[in-house]
Symmetry: C2
Subunit: 149 residues, 2 copies
């Protein structure tokens, strides 16, 4: 399980309970020690080799897991007041090695690439419902972030 | 979109927003008119042709969607005080025809069968966190329910 280096990013291993008919996969409980509040649950598919980047929210906090397929998640700390300002972090998420929940605080640029042969499914239990006014985007190849997808 | 006949079962069509890199799929928002409370989000895989049945909760209410694969959901009203007591309902869930959220009240026996070539993924945003004391099970072939999987 990789460690996180960007301040406020939290990676939590999740349980996968195998059964002969299909696994049960944990994600988030309201009585988890790190639970804050529930705003919205939605899903984002990422096709093999495709990139969804970059996104940022000023207020919304993401709680992601990847129950199907695998992705490479790249994050870039754009918070001038952060001790890890301008640091980049790359984490691969997916079963069975890295089935975990990742919390991404607001103020972080993040993006994904599908790295499995099958379409990946990202589940996001965000702390606030989607607000189109809190949804910044720059192109995947933007010069602000020194990363080649 | 099939209608529901068991009292308290609510089927809500969900939006699927296609993009060239993979769709965005709605599930549940805290400001949805029918939202009650968030207890737990977890996933259940169902392998092709496999059955997970029967389950019932006395207190927990289920909010299910199927973003990957297809399932047949069978429900049986076991509430003696219900106007639809002993009625059965069968609904197929999956994209793109039947991508929707289904609310299953407490007191209903329910089960699934995987009916797609790929493993199906059920997402459940239940109103209460899993409680092992609120988790009744009978075998898929139990005589109480006249259904052959």
């Amino acid at each position: 399980m990789p460690e996180t280096k960007i301040l406020g990013v939290v990676l939590t291993p999740l349980r996968e309970i195998p059964t002969p008919d299909g696994a049960v996969l944990h994600m988030l409980r309201a009585d988890d020690p790190d639970f804050t509040q529930f705003g919205e649950c939605y899903f984002s598919e990422v096709y093999p080799g495709k990139v969804k980047a970059w996104k940022m929210h000023e207020h919304q906090e993401q709680n992601l897991s990847v129950p199907v397929g695998k992705i490479r998640l790249v994050m870039y700390d754009a918070r001038p007041a952060s001790a890890t300002y301008k640091q980049m972090e790359i984490i691969e998420l997916g079963r069975p090695e890295n089935y975990c929940k990742i919390r991404i605080p607001s103020g972080i640029w993040y993006g994904f690439k599908g790295i499995s042969a099958q379409t990946a499914l990202i589940v996001n239990c965000a702390d606030k419902a989607h607000d189109p006014t809190d949804n910044k985007k720059i192109p995947a190849e933007d010069a602000e972030i020194n990363y080649t997808w």
